[in-house]
Symmetry: C2
Subunit: 759 residues, 2 copies
């Protein structure tokens, strides 16, 4: 995965059957969403059969094979893996092709980081071989430690420590009178997606950016280090993309269009998603001499990591020289696309994806998510041997180039945009898997559907449903209100999707309802993320030694695919969705009030010289600058649209109850019409012009944050305008989102009308 | 100071004059509490004159002299200092005596800490000489690093890390299936008063206790270490008492009575405040090899310090041998008592104290608090040369033996208990001082008085009143409600007193209204606390180089003493007090509800097997044990008593407004009667039988926590019963506290009656 997205997802937690019984009719309790009673029963039999085909030996064998050598985008073994995977699909009877794109993928020619003052030090930039790790010595094929899509650079400057390097950190620096202009910043990993760090550093005038892995976040502070334990050792470092993906993901040279052989390409120098300054990731072994040499103010307590030093901010005598040169090559990306044609509605596509490229060997990321999907696909193919065919078409997609920037998925989605928007009914993603709890995030029109799936998968460690286990965790970790919900709400909440894996082009660019699923939370696997130690040897010691959770993922993904492909009508539901939108509306309203109060409080402190009264005169402190008071915003259009959406939802639910009690929904034509209406509900949430300053992101409900990178911003147009104190824009965006919600309600009404015809 | 009590105090923060103008009459705005208008004007002239006598050169010279050699209880230089101080007072015309007590003070003969497995290591237990610190090399006179009132012991056992070693930490251990029985625990300093750590360890069956200074709390994590910076270096360690002072402070052999020459003494073996197990403090240099050798579960994130290791809990192969032997000697303690007789009400005593003993050189603790008090006393004596005499008697007390256990103050207070309860009107304490903000804690009947004082002292760095600076800090650090109060309430709140310095016997044993004052919060002085580096050289680099805040303390203490000694009637006020009691009543009511909910939630999780559903099966986790549901408590008696107290307060305020507008309060007899009534208000808050299981602590509003040591517990009888789930006892204590509040209200009514007579 391109980001550690699993951590940003709230688990789904699901209700006990008793609660279901109270909230839905007795008939529905027995039936699956989208099915009638008989269909439900047949479906459950089918799923039992499906389960019986799953073999965990396959997972182990395929992981060993696929992670045996480094297989990043453009590598020989990456191609080999794509061919191998395509061969598997073909052997299982899928109509399989490898779709190639030609994309920009820079790799380093020169990497030099040295401290020139107060003493000389040259960073090693090297992850050593570990004898307990069989693949760690494959030096000739490993990508070195670097950040992809950094620009070339040769810069020298005083060093400044900027904590996580997010905007708020620069406010702290300003408060202490520290300016990074003309300097080189060192930021620690964490607190945001890594690409935000050089972006914000450049916005503040820095010349270069170093990102290091502090042992507090994924090293010895967290646990014993590899190979004794699972965590990042002194020389472990984190590769990763720093392209400005919150602007647009995919090939930097072909925004919005597929990077096919003859596509019109930007020149590299014009590609807006490359960084503005050179950036390099290092281990804490390499960072320690630099950080130890820093002078200036002691860093705020929250900025201090686990290195055995006093963290200072700088600047001072510590001066570093950073020189980076890259080969800006165009390389082939190989997506494996395998199709199983639906026998009734072949032009409705259920798409299931996981990427195959890794930064190095990638046993955990992505192979641990990929092999359960392969096994799922194999078991589906076994079902076809019994004569079963899915009602809708199923497409298994195995993406290349996810790590550098969701490239394989984005280019494919852009190439086939029109067809996908008229045919895709679901994009279901996974990306890595380990022991623990089911995590789900995605479109809230799918919340009820995926709750149902999770009710039917048994946790291998606990022998209770995986949703029961997730629910228990929500009870243990939640506050009183979250506990109450976990116990009493019919379904438990899924989180919204920001970014970090291949769902982004489908959901946020094309408006296709999407989910991301995976197990985790018990394994210790953060410390080898994007390093050479993300290996088969590490995985089978620390992540899912028995592959039992791999099989749980096969069962989860398989059920979701089979149900979506087999349902009489699309298993979407809207009451959880409109409930969630209601929460978002409350959140942005509260956010506007909070920001207004914060500005007023700050201005009052400035006027009353409160900062001057408190600040220690023996240290440098600069009072913040006053800013214009925030206006009250007119949220009425949003509230009216929400009311309309809630009304539409209620009408749909009522119509559905009536329809399921009659015979009308048994008509294939009605089902097909309903599918067509339902499919377009998510499409109604996108706008052609997209979000301000980033038109590629068209979804009005979900987007990755422009300054968080993987953290989701819901109602992003409104929320980010408020966060950035762009009050006029916030007002405009309220109108746009309100219109989007009205449009969504109207689309739901079309479904209702179909259900109501002939009554 | 025996505890780092400054940190436990909330600063006082005070209102601007504008607010005062809105809330009090125009007359009162100009007058000081306890004075009429003319008296106020005279008092302000007197205070100006007082200020003019203060010389910061004296502070520097006395600090250098008093901290020139180690001067702990029983040391030659301690006696020398007492004589020197007594000489100063005599030279200023005070009636001065040195009062001697003979008290138990163990010093170490043998200190051995070694690891015997998995490898051999012997702790150095030695703070090295630092060439930049002139007194750090006085080895022959320094007390070694040890904890006073540890028992002898020679124990060997597996080592277990217990975080701060407070009861909650043992719940975490239990959850992980770790038992300390028969083992030796290692705890880090912080999170509670140090004496709690061996007490709780012994309650859980540990054989011995090691306490180390983690660099996260006062070492390199906080800032650069000594001598480069101010913080604790690798070999710095913290001496300190571990006697069970929440049971009773003072000489362990003479609980409740003065340790005079012929006092009846317990045998050492019967002294209940000695520890049950041997305990030794060490530096992190000595702790690191031990902690690094620990195996077993990784410690919870909140338990991990700043050492560059993965913190494990143990137990495992790491085994330590701890051997301690002490000389249990009786040594003399020398209190210096200096009196200035009041010319009108000599039998009303204003007592002002600070201790003189230190653990080693003690430039910061206690000399930085002592020398401003000496200068204050000198300036007061200068006033007498102008013919001025205080209305009431002033007693300056310079205590010995505070560090081992508030010994000098406690033995004096016990010896003179009856006289003090009939004569003392105020005990005003200080104990250390540095750059920063005014911190005040104490009796809330004094809140308005000390607010007035702080309005009239100018901050030397900012040239605004010290209360304006404190108010600004409350605005910066507070939440919305605290900010509102800091801006709008007439007076800002003072915190309640727990323990940690010499006010404890006066306030909590005798029921004398008390305050503790000092400046701090800007200096970096935590890292040398109770080490050989608490030196003159350290103080003038890092704490208050110019002694300007020493002079601010002289002005603050001097104003408080002069006003209290000179006021026409005692400057107590009760509306802030009853407001504060109302908050405490709300707190304990809410606490009872929260504990009830917590127990119910825990039991529900146990019944529903929520823990079992979540816990990682590859690790050891033990679900908590169910406990009986908590009953609802009858808080009505407390609420009725509070209502009565509020009514009495209103009546008093009304009577006072009327009295000050007439001539009656000009009568000396009336004033004397009123003084007598007001003096007994705080006395009404104590009960003869004291708190459950610790009868020495008699105050029903304020006590140090039995399991926090310095952290205050307000309404302690009720609060601790609820915290410990002793529901029957909580019910009884509600009755006792209610009766105490009724008694307090009745005493206020006596004052009201005096004001109202003849109307």
């Amino acid at each position: 995965m391109i980001f550690r997205s699993l951590q940003s997802l709230v688990m789904i937690c699901l209700s006990v059957a008793m609660v279901m019984a109270q909230t839905t009719s007795a008939v529905q309790q027995k039936t699956l969403l989208g099915f009638d009673r008989e269909g439900s029963d047949r479906e459950r039999v089918l799923e039992k059969q499906f389960d019986s085909f799953l073999k965990k030996e396959n997972l182990r064998e395929w992981m060993k094979r696929l992670s045996a050598r480094p297989h990043h985008l453009g590598s020989p073994y990456g191609k080999d893996n794509a061919d191998f995977i395509a061969g598997l699909f073909r052997s299982w009877g899928y109509e399989t092709e490898i779709e190639r794109f030609d994309v920009l993928f820079p790799t380093p020619k020169t990497r030099l980081l040295e401290m020139t003052s107060p003493e000389k030090f040259t960073a090693k930039l090297e992850e050593p071989v570990v004898k307990e790790d069989a693949t760690s010595g494959q030096k000739s094929e490993q990508l070195p430690v670097y950040n992809a899509y950094s620009v070339n650079g040769d810069v020298t400057g005083q060093l400044v420590y900027v904590n996580y390097g997010v905007p708020q950190d620069y406010e702290e620096l300003e408060r202490r009178g520290v300016d990074v202009k003309g300097k080189i910043v060192i930021a620690r990993y964490g607190g945001s997606w890594r690409g935000i760090k050089p972006k914000v550093a450049a916005e503040h005038g820095a010349l270069g950016c170093i990102i290091y892995s502090d042992p507090r976040d994924d090293g010895f502070f967290a646990g014993d280090v590899y190979p004794k334990g699972a965590w990042r050792n002194e020389n472990g470092a984190q590769r990763g993309s720093v392209a400005d993906m919150p602007l647009y993901p995919g090939d930097p040279l072909t925004p919005g269009i597929g990077a096919t052989a003859n596509a019109k390409r930007l020149e590299v120098k014009d590609a807006p998603t490359l960084t503005k300054i050179p950036v390099l990731p290092v281990s804490y072994g390499d960072a320690l001499p630099l950080l130890r040499a820093l002078e200036g103010p002691v860093a705020p307590a929250a900025w201090r990591g686990a290195l055995p030093i006093t963290y200072h901010i700088g600047p001072g005598r510590a001066t570093v020289h950073l020189k980076l040169e890259f080969d800006f090559n165009i390389v082939p990306a190989y997506d494996v696309i395998a199709r199983l044609r639906g026998n009734e509605r072949p032009d409705e596509w259920v798409i299931r994806g996981n990427h195959h490229d890794a930064w190095v060997n990638g046993a955990g990321d992505p192979i641990s998510g990929l092999v359960p999907m392969l096994e799922e696909a194999r078991a589906v193919s076994e079902l076809t041997k019994t004569g079963w065919r899915p009602r809708r078409s199923i497409i298994y997609a195995v993406w290349d180039g996810e790590e550098p920037g969701l490239i394989g998925s984005t280019e494919w989605a852009e190439t086939h945009a029109q067809e996908l928007q008229s045919k895709a009914v679901l994009y279901l993603n996974s990306d890595g898997n380990s022991r623990g709890f089911l995590f789900v995030a995605g479109s809230h029109t799918l919340e009820k559907f995926i709750n149902d799936v999770a009710r039917d998968v048994i946790d291998p460690e606990k022998e209770i449903a995986v949703f029961e286990r997730a629910r228990a965790r929500a009870i243990i970790t939640g506050d009183a209100e979250q506990r109450r919900e976990a116990r009493d709400r019919a379904d438990l909440r899924i989180n919204a999707l920001g970014s970090g894996s291949d769902y982004t082009p489908f959901l946020q660019h094309l408006g296709i309802a999407s989910l991301n699923i995976g197990y985790g939370g018990e394994a210790e696997n953060d410390g080898i993320y994007h390093s050479i130690y993300d290996s088969f040897d590490h995985y089978i010691r620390f992540s899912d030694p028995t592959f039992d959770y791999g099989i749980a993922l096969s069962k989860t993904g398989g059920r979701a695919v089979l149900r979506f492909a087999g349902a009489g009508y699309l298993p979407l539901a809207f009451s959880n969705f409109s409930d969630t939108i209601g929460r978002y509306v409350n959140e942005v309203t509260k956010l506007a009030n909070d920001e207004r109060d914060t500005i007023a409080e700050k201005n009052r402190r400035i006027n009353e010289k409160t900062f001057e009264a408190v600040d220690d005169p023996t240290k440098t402190f600069v009072p913040p600058k006053a800013e214009p008071a925030a206006p009250y915003l007119n949220f009425a259009p949003l509230q009216n649209a929400l009311a309309r959406l809630q009304e539409s939802t209620r009408n749909y639910d009522r119509a559905m109850v009536e329809a399921t009690s009659g015979t009308r929904l048994q008509s294939s034509d009605v089902q097909q019409s309903l599918d067509d209406a339902l499919r377009q509900v998510e499409l109604a949430m996108i706008t052609e012009r997209g979000l301000p300053r980033r038109p590629w992101f068209k979804h009005q409900i979900y987007a990755p944050g422009f300054y968080t990178g993987y953290g989701v911003k819901t109602l992003p147009g409104i929320r980010e305008a408020i966060e950035q104190h762009k009050w006029d824009e916030a007002g405009e965006q309220i109108g746009i989102v309100a219109a989007t919600l009205e449009q969504t309600a109207a689309q739901i009404d079309r479904g209702t009308a179909i259900l109501n015809t002939d009554r």
